[in-house]
Symmetry: C2
Subunit: 169 residues, 2 copies
């Protein structure tokens, strides 16, 4: 009888183990679906890596609307990998940023560094030095709109130093 009891306990434990394996694999499948859903936040193809003379770290750019004389507007998407950022630069007609995912920074020369995140809209006025990029911990996905391109598109300047990047003031 003691043997039979041991056998029953063994069967019970095997049943528990089987349920555990089935349910954990079910949960895992959901997690994978979730991870894929999160990857779909990348709305557009990654595009080309921004040149090292204009960016610190890896930034990926894809053009969505090329410049022409009908719309006078350039639109594109940049994905900044964590800690990546643009050089300081100027847009003769200004720039509008729409943050579609992640967390990053935007700074206008002489002003405090702003933290920017998913859903934020940032305006940088014409002929004002600024830079933008990802936070150290999170990448940044941003659409950019450059209006009135008949006035010019971009003038690239010097890199953002680590001190400038890290200084929240």
């Amino acid at each position: 009888m003691v043997n039979m009891q041991k056998k029953t306990i063994k069967i019970c434990f095997i049943t528990v183990a089987a349920f555990l394996v089935l349910l954990i694999s079910g949960c895992k499948e959901q997690t994978v679906t979730k991870a894929n859903a999160s990857r779909e936040q990348m709305l557009f193809p990654k595009g080309q890596q921004g040149p090292a003379e204009n960016f610190t770290g890896k930034a990926w750019n894809i053009g969505l609307v090329a410049n022409d004389s009908i719309y006078n507007t350039v639109v594109g998407n940049v994905y900044f990998e964590p800690a990546a950022r643009s050089n300081w630069h100027i847009h003769p007609a200004g720039q509008i940023l729409i943050i579609t995912d992640g967390v990053g920074y935007h700074q206008i020369k002489g002003q405090a560094r702003q933290t920017i995140k998913k859903g934020d809209v940032v305006k940088c006025p014409p002929n004002v030095m600024h830079w933008h990029g990802a936070s150290p911990e999170s990448g940044l996905y941003q659409l950019y709109i450059i209006p009135n391109t008949e006035k010019g598109i971009v003038q690239w300047m010097h890199p953002v130093s680590d001190e400038e990047y890290n200084n929240a003031k």
Copy 2:
């Protein structure tokens, strides 16, 4: 001894039941997180319902960049509920649409209806009649960019008939 065996089996079944409850609730929590993540596709607040004189069905608009004389650009987000669509209308300086989620339609007067979906970029030239909206099965999330607003923003016209909406030609 038989009683003790029955007791052991009972304890085992209670253990299995407890594991089931814990694991199923764990899975449920993940599903809720996933549902929230999917709702996050809505990048911006829903905004205000578009007026019935300009839209068929429910379309929700939120302005992101208001018109001014610096950028001469209006940016906003529209969510069309399934089967909702704009009236025919004209933008004196054209319009750029960026589809951020869902599936819908865009048609320029005299041309075939286009199916548009997440990641697509659509240009509608200045002074051309067009309409846009959701497919019958899926809503449509779209950013709109109206450039060169010094030329005007929008001229609303008559509704898109069911025949026009359903005709893929």
